[in-house]
Symmetry: C3
Subunit: 164 residues, 3 copies
């Protein structure tokens, strides 16, 4: 049996966005009636990721949980946010021309760090469903991440459940 | 058709734990009778991962295969093991207070590196099942990793098979 | 319902290989007749990965799209290509002896970087199938990556679809 649902989120500009989507995923699993199987939580977008991570209680100055901010910080060391041209090869002239012809933002094309981080972490997680519940442990949370800091946008998340 | 099983492992303190769970996964697939589909091997815990990696033959001084030790070593460069306070924002005061109220170990809360590494690699792998066998190639192995070096614990691994 | 297909690719020596397998995956989903579910695109090999990434238009000097080259470049910083012995613990003497006994190439054993990068990114992606189409957005592409730069080889890719 297959059951699916998508929903929309609003992401931030200027900072990496973390949305806790644990309850939406668990509620969709309950709604499906599926007791045993898997739930795939997936981003429609190539600059976003989905991860599971423990709830961290304390908050950083930008409003992220400390573990979320630590994740951003380690990526900042390896794949720094693109704050000027030339940090990465992308976007090249053809990509910029294409964007301009389609009324898109030059600044918004410089989200290479977001593309790379999303490719590495991946756009989805697959979680075991046991007895009608996603297996997350006591403090496990599902976070949708929008790595793109150039603008806020409406983002789409998929919840796809397969099982019986 | 859905078939599932979980089993327990004992992890180490002081070093990152790698458990070869290839045979348990293959045996569970055989037991299921499922010939074509997928098998998801998943950690119940947010400081653990599951990966596939080639068998490496030689061992490091801590008893890991060389490729496993190389993986630990590259993470040590990027996301070093938390050996003192202040290397990461997590755990903050609220997390430490919560732990103390629940009789948990202050030292054991300083496993931030394990949380970050697990978020990046992920808690599960999805492997194609072909003709009743997980597709791993001749030397592919499935390793359960416990990144948490602050203590040894009983860990739970899921094997979830979907197919026909 | 389950539907599967595998196909072969030829990878490069000397540079990391990216193959755009988007159309093969989409065509296999159409052929399956499955409308809602998931498609898993998976590498048979432990030195390869599958990712999704946006089309980047411009090309690098080695013939990769700029975003692909940026991904290679950030890994080069963290997990450099093995250009001489001793950069990693693997391959050890037993691995080299085994290779020699089986007529394999000593040079080709020094692909440790490829094993590590593949373990970190993973060997597969799981993509939501909605209305008979893999959910990739307008510019999303599925890339098979062969990280191994020591030799060109025939590589096998799996497309496994589960749904109804």
């Amino acid at each position: 049996m297959v059951f699916r649902k998508s929903f929309a989120l609003e992401s931030n500009d200027k900072v990496v966005t973390f949305h806790n989507v644990t309850e939406q995923a668990a509620e969709t699993v309950r709604e499906s009636g599926i007791k045993e199987g898997i739930v795939v939580i997936s981003s429609h977008h190539t600059t976003c990721s989905v991860i599971t991570q423990e709830c961290a209680f304390d908050m950083s100055m930008t409003g992220l949980e400390t573990l979320q901010q630590d994740l951003v910080n380690v990526f900042e060391k390896w794949i720094p946010t693109q704050r000027s041209e030339g940090m990465y090869l992308h976007p090249g002239q053809e990509a910029l021309d294409y964007a301009e012809q389609h009324g898109e933002d030059n600044f918004g094309c410089h989200n290479t760090d977001a593309h790379l981080r999303s490719s590495i972490i991946g756009r989805s997680v697959t979680i075991v469903v046991d007895n009608g519940t996603p297996d997350l442990g006591e403090f496990g949370r599902i976070h949708f991440i929008d790595w793109d800091q150039t603008r806020g946008r409406t983002r789409t998340v998929w919840v796809m459940i397969i099982g019986e």
